[in-house]
C-alpha cells in the first residue's frame, strides 16, 4: 500500500503540472487583455505598458509560465487583480466556508441516500421503491437554481422560517455559529446530491443482493437486519465511495449556483468571476488546487476500496 501511495503521489505531480500547463495555454488563448480589462479603456498606453511590465505579461509565453511555476513552488498562488488580494488569501477565506457547505451537504446526502437506496433495493418494485425513485428523479432533473429559489420562496419569503442568505462570516466557525442561515444552502445542495447518491446506492445494493454470500447468509438463518448491515452495506458502498471520491473537488469548488443565490462567497464564485474578468492567476490558482484535490480524492477512493473489499490489493 505504501508503495502504491508513493507511486500515486508521483503521478499526481505530473498530472498537476500537466493541468497547469494546459490551463495556462488555454487562458492565454482567451480573447481580450488583462491590462485593459483591469485598468479600463481610459487607461493610457503608458499605464497599460507599465501594468504588463510589472506583471510579466509582455514576456514570451514560456517565460510567463516559468514565473508562474516559480511562484507556485514558493507556495505563492498569485495575485488577484480584480479583488486586490493574493489568491492564497482568497482561498484561505473561501475554502473553509466551502468545506462547511459542501461537507455538510455531502454528509447529509449520504446519511439519507444510503439507507434510502438500500431500502429501495430491498423493497424493489414496491411502492416504497417507486416513491423513492420518483423523488430522486424529480430532484435530479431540477436545476439547482430552481430548487434554491423554491426553497427561498417557501421557507424564507412566504413563511419566514429560515433566512434567505447564508451567514456572513469570513470563517468556517463563524458560519457554523449561525446554523439557521446554513439550512437553505445546505438543504439545496443536499437534495441534489442525495438524488444522485441514492440511485447509485440502490443500483449497487440490488447487485449485491443477488450475490451468493447474501443468499448464504439468509439460508443460514441470519436475521435480515444483520444480513443488510454486515453483508450488504459494506459491499454495496464501493460504488458510492467512488462517487464520493470524485465529488471531493466539487465539495470545495462546485457550489457556484448555491453561492450566487444564497449570498455565500466561495471559491466557485471566485473562479466564475475571475473567468469573466480574465483574472488569470485566480483561475490558475483554483485550477491547481482542484487538480490536487481531485488526485487526493481519487487516492482516498482507492484506499477506501481496499478497506471495504479485502480482495483488492495494490
Amino acid at each position: 500500500m505504501t508503495g502504491f501511495i508513493i507511486r500515486r503521489l508521483g503521478q499526481a505531480i505530473v498530472v498537476v503540472l500537466g493541468v497547469t500547463l494546459i490551463t495556462f495555454i488555454l487562458l492565454h488563448l482567451l480573447p481580450g487583455s488583462l491590462a485593459r480589462d483591469i485598468l479600463g479603456n481610459r487607461a493610457t498606453p503608458q499605464a497599460i505598458e507599465q501594468f504588463n511590465q510589472q506583471n510579466h505579461l509582455n514576456q514570451p509565453f514560456f517565460v510567463q509560465y516559468w514565473y508562474f511555476l516559480d511562484q507556485l513552488l514558493h507556495g505563492n498562488l498569485g495575485y488577484s487583480y480584480q479583488f486586490n488580494r493574493s489568491v492564497d488569501s482568497l482561498l484561505k477565506t473561501d475554502l473553509p466556508r466551502d468545506l462547511v457547505l459542501g461537507g455538510l451537504s455531502l454528509i447529509f446526502s449520504l446519511v439519507i441516500a444510503i439507507p434510502t437506496g438500500i431500502a429501495q433495493a430491498v423493497k424493489r418494485n414496491s411502492a416504497v421503491d417507486y416513491a423513492g425513485t420518483g423523488v430522486s428523479f424529480l430532484l435530479y432533473s431540477m436545476p439547482q437554481y430552481a430548487i434554491a429559489l423554491l426553497l427561498i420562496q417557501f421557507l424564507s419569503i412566504s413563511f419566514h422560517v429560515f433566512p434567505a442568505e447564508a451567514p456572513q462570516s469570513t470563517s468556517a466557525i463563524g458560519m457554523l455559529e449561525h446554523p439557521a442561515g446554513l439550512v437553505l444552502p445546505v438543504l439545496s445542495l443536499t437534495l441534489v446530491t442525495y438524488a444522485a447518491f441514492s440511485r447509485y446506492m440502490r443500483s449497487s445494493a440490488i447487485d449485491t443482493l443477488a450475490q451468493d454470500y447474501i443468499r448464504t447468509a439468509r439460508a443460514k438463518g441470519l436475521p435480515e437486519r444483520l444480513v443488510l448491515m454486515r453483508h450488504l452495506l459494506r459491499n454495496s458502498l464501493v460504488a458510492v465511495v467512488t462517487l464520493v471520491g470524485l465529488s471531493i473537488p466539487l465539495v470545495l469548488t462546485g457550489t457556484l449556483i448555491i453561492e450566487q443565490v444564497f449570498n455565500y462567497p466561495g471559491a466557485g464564485l471566485e473562479y466564475f468571476q475571475a473567468a469573466l474578468r480574465n483574472d488569470y492567476e485566480v483561475m490558475l490558482g483554483i485550477t491547481v488546487l482542484v487538480g490536487v484535490i481531485t488526485v487526493v480524492g481519487n487516492l482516498m477512493a482507492d484506499i477506501g476500496y481496499a478497506i471495504l473489499d479485502p480482495r483488492i490489493r495494490y
Partner: protein, 653 residues
C-alpha cells in the same frame, strides 16, 4: 469622467467602467415584445424618467426623528471595496471604493452632487470658492476650519502633501488621469499659510472647468500618513523634512500607503486609515466586502451624524440582493439598489416598506464604432472604416436606434433617451440643456434611408444597399460596395441582446447588414480600444459593452477624454478639428461663456454622432433600475454623482 455599464455598479473613469459596469445590474429578462419594439416611434424630445422621493428634496420618513439606528446598504454584486487610500489608480477605480467608502472617511477639497444637483456644495466643503489671479492661471483657495480625528487641523499643507505624492507617484495611473491635464498641467502649488492653498496651472483655463474637473481631484491627506513605514511614529508637526518634501520621499510614501491599502485585512485596525476628516470612521471590514462605518465623533463638518451605524453588505449575485429585499425588507436592507432585471417588480418591492427612487447618475450610454477598422465590408471589399468615417452614415445608424421602443420594451421604463454627452438628468444649472434637442437621435428608418439615398447609395430594403455614386458616398467608398459590419455586444445581458437584435433588424430594412457576436463584458471592453488601421487588433467594428460614461472624478461634462484625437477613451479614434476646437472652448473659454460653449459642443456631438447613443439607465448607484429607501429613513436625497452621504440620514418612528 468615466464609462459605466448599465448592468453593474457605476465606476469612475473607464477603468471605473469595468468595475462599475461589473456591478450595475443592467439586463432585463427576456421580453416577448422584443420584436415589436421598433414599431414605436421616438420623435419626442428627451423626457426625464426619473421620479420618486429623495431627488432634490430629502425623504421625510414616516414620523418623528429618532437618534441612532443601523442603515443597511446593498453593495453591487461583484465589486466589493478593495482599496481605501483615496489616491486610487485605474485598477481600483470603482464607485464602491470612491463613492461608498473613501468619500465618507476622507473628505475631498470640494464636495459635489448634493440634493441631486451635479454642482459643487461650498457650504459643506473644506475649500471656499477659489479666487483666480495671474491672468486666470492661479487659484487661491481659503480653507474652512475642519479637523482630523487625531486633533490636527485640516490645513493647506495637507493639500500640498497630496500634490507632492501625486506628482511623485505614477500619476499616469491615477484614476482621473488624462494626458496633459491634472496633474500634468499644474506648474506650482504652495501653502502660504495653514488656511490658504495656492495652485498655478500652465495656462488660463475656464475657472468652472478647473473647479469641476481639476480641483475635484484633490484630497487633503493627514500628516499622520507622511511616513514610509508603520514602525515610524506618526508625524505631529511639519519640521520641514517630512518624507513628502522630496520627490523620492514622496514616492516612497505613495508606495507605503499603496501597500498598506492593499492589506485589506488591516484596514479597521490601521493607525493610518483611522485618521479621518469625514463624517464616518471605519469600525470593521471583512475581505468579502462587508463594511461597518460608525460616526466620526470628532467630525467638524455639518450636520452631525444621527445614525449609529452604516453597514454595507456585499452580495454574490443580483438574485441574492432581490432575495434579501423580498424576505427581509427594510430590516435587512434599508437602502437597496435594485438590478434592472427586477424592474418589473419595483411596485411589489416598494410595498415591502420602501420608497422607490429613480434617479439617473450623471452619465450617458453609447457604443463606439471604429473609424480606423480594417475589417472589410465584404470579403475582398474595402475597409468599413471609410463608411464609418462618413458623418451622414453615423447619423443614419443613430436614426435606426429605437431608444423609446427599447426603453419601453426591454428596459421597463428605467432609462432615459440619450443624444449626446450632456445628461438631461440630473439637470445641471451649469448647462442650458433646454435648447439641446433629441431629434438628431430620434428613431426613423425613413430618415436613415433618405440620408443614404442623398449620399449616393441605392437603398434596397431587406436587400443590400450599394454605393452608386462614390463621389457622394465619400472618400474610400467604391461603386457597388455594400454596407456590412459586425457589432460585438456584452453577453449575459438580455436587454442588450434584445436591443442589438432590434438594431440589426432595423438596419436590414434599409439594406444594411449588421452581424452580431457576443462576448463577456471584459472581452468587449478590451477589444474596443483605440487602434491604428495597420494594427491586427483593429479588426473590430463596433463594441457594445452595455455601458457608457459617468462623470467622475471630473464633473464638468466636457469632452476632452472622449472625443479628442488620441484620448484613451476615444475608442473609435474619432477625429474632427471642429470638435477639438469646441472642446477646447469648454475648457479654456471665459467663465461667462461656459454654458454656451457646453451647449454648442453638445449640439455638435449630436450632429456628428462620434459614437452611437443609447438609453441611459436610471438608478443613482450605477445604472440600477432604482433605489429602494426604507419608509422610516429620512434625510435621504440622491447624490447626483453617486456619493453616499449618511450625515444627512436619520430614522423616524
Amino acid at each position: 469622467m468615466q464609462r459605466f455599464k448599465r448592468s453593474t455598479l457605476a465606476i469612475i473613469g473607464v477603468a471605473l467602467v469595468v468595475l462599475f459596469a461589473a456591478a450595475c445590474g443592467s439586463s432585463s429578462s427576456s421580453n416577448s415584445s422584443s420584436s415589436n419594439s421598433s414599431s414605436s416611434s421616438s420623435s419626442s424630445s428627451a423626457g426625464l424618467a426619473t421620479s420618486g422621493p429623495g431627488l432634490t428634496q430629502p425623504t421625510t420618513g414616516s414620523g418623528s426623528k429618532v437618534s441612532g439606528g443601523t442603515v443597511y446598504f446593498t453593495e453591487g454584486s461583484d465589486a466589493p471595496p478593495n482599496y481605501i487610500f483615496p489616491m486610487y489608480n485605474f485598477q481600483v477605480c470603482s464607485t464602491t471604493n470612491a463613492n461608498q467608502l473613501m468619500n465618507m472617511l476622507y473628505y475631498p477639497l470640494y464636495t459635489y452632487g448634493e440634493n441631486y444637483r451635479p454642482t459643487v456644495d461650498y457650504s459643506h466643503s473644506i475649500g471656499q470658492a477659489p479666487v483666480t489671479s495671474n491672468g486666470g492661471k492661479t487659484f487661491t483657495i481659503h480653507l474652512n476650519p475642519y479637523k482630523w480625528s487625531d486633533g490636527e487641523t485640516v490645513s493647506a499643507r495637507d493639500l500640498v502633501f497630496w500634490m507632492n505624492v501625486m506628482k511623485a507617484s505614477p500619476a499616469t495611473e491615477w484614476c482621473g488621469y488624462a494626458p496633459g491635464y491634472f496633474p500634468d498641467n499644474v506648474v506650482s502649488y504652495s501653502a502660504p499659510n495653514p488656511s490658504t492653498f495656492v495652485i498655478t496651472f500652465n495656462k488660463a483655463y475656464d475657472p468652472e472647468w478647473v473647479l469641476y474637473s481639476e480641483l475635484s481631484q484633490i484630497f487633503p491627506m493627514p500628516m499622520a500618513w507622511d511616513r514610509t513605514s508603520l514602525s515610524q511614529p506618526a508625524p505631529t508637526s511639519d519640521n520641514g523634512s517630512l518624507p513628502d518634501t522630496t520627490k523620492s520621499g514622496a514616492a516612497a510614501v505613495y508606495k507605503f500607503l499603496d501597500t498598506q491599502s492593499k492589506d485589506l485585512g488591516s484596514w479597521a485596525t490601521s493607525p493610518l486609515w483611522s485618521v479621518v476628516d469625514g463624517p464616518m470612521k471605519l469600525q470593521s471590514f471583512n475581505t468579502d466586502g462587508r463594511v461597518v462605518l460608525v460616526p466620526n465623533a470628532d467630525w467638524s463638518g455639518t450636520p452631525k451624524v444621527s445614525i449609529s451605524q452604516l453597514v454595507e453588505l456585499p452580495y454574490t449575485s443580483e438574485a441574492a440582493i432581490y432575495n434579501t429585499v423580498k424576505s427581509s425588507g427594510p430590516a435587512g436592507a434599508t437602502i437597496a439598489n435594485i438590478p434592472s432585471q427586477y424592474a418589473p417588480q419595483l411596485s411589489s418591492l416598494g410595498a415591502e416598506g420602501y420608497q422607490v427612487n429613480k434617479a439617473a447618475s450623471y452619465s450617458f450610454n453609447y457604443f463606439p464604432v471604429n473609424l480606423n477598422s480594417n475589417a472589410t465590408t465584404s470579403p475582398g471589399g474595402e475597409p468599413v472604416r471609410y463608411v464609418f468615417r462618413q458623418t451622414y452614415f453615423r447619423n443614419a445608424l443613430q436614426h435606426l436606434v429605437d431608444q423609446q421602443g427599447w426603453i419601453h420594451a426591454f428596459l421597463y421604463n428605467t432609462a432615459v433617451p440619450t443624444c449626446g454627452p450632456i445628461p438631461f438628468s440630473p439637470p445641471s444649472p451649469l448647462v442650458d440643456t433646454s435648447s439641446i434637442s433629441f431629434s438628431p437621435c430620434s428613431f426613423s428608418d425613413a430618415t436613415a434611408q433618405q440620408l443614404l439615398t442623398s449620399h449616393g447609395w441605392k437603398v434596397v430594403p431587406n436587400g443590400t444597399t450599394t454605393c452608386q455614386n462614390p463621389s457622394l458616398c465619400g472618400a474610400g467608398i467604391k461603386q457597388g460596395e455594400g454596407i456590412s459590419f459586425n457589432i460585438d455586444y456584452q453577453s449575459g445581458v438580455v436587454a442588450v441582446q434584445d436591443e442589438m437584435n432590434d438594431l440589426a433588424s432595423n438596419a436590414k430594412k434599409v439594406g444594411i447588414t449588421i452581424n452580431l457576436t457576443t462576448h463577456p463584458f471584459s472581452t468587449v471592453v478590451a477589444t474596443g480600444a483605440p487602434c491604428m488601421p495597420s494594427a491586427a487588433s483593429c479588426k473590430w467594428t463596433a463594441e457594445n459593452w452595455g455601458a457608457g460614461w459617468i462623470y467622475g472624478p471630473s464633473y464638468l461634462p466636457t469632452g476632452e477624454p472622449l472625443y479628442n484625437p488620441g484620448s484613451a477613451a476615444n475608442a473609435g479614434s474619432y477625429s474632427d478639428a471642429q470638435m477639438t476646437s469646441l472642446i477646447g472652448q469648454t475648457i479654456t473659454g471665459p467663465l461667462s461663456g461656459e454654458s454656451a460653449a457646453l451647449t454648442t459642443y453638445a449640439k455638435y456631438v449630436s450632429q456628428q454622432d462620434p459614437v452611437i447613443f443609447g438609453p441611459t439607465s436610471v438608478g443613482t448607484y450605477g445604472g440600477y433600475a432604482a433605489t429602494l429607501i426604507s419608509n422610516k429613513l429620512a434625510g435621504y436625497s440622491a447624490n447626483a454623482l453617486g456619493f453616499l452621504q449618511p450625515q444627512y440620514w436619520y430614522f423616524t418612528k
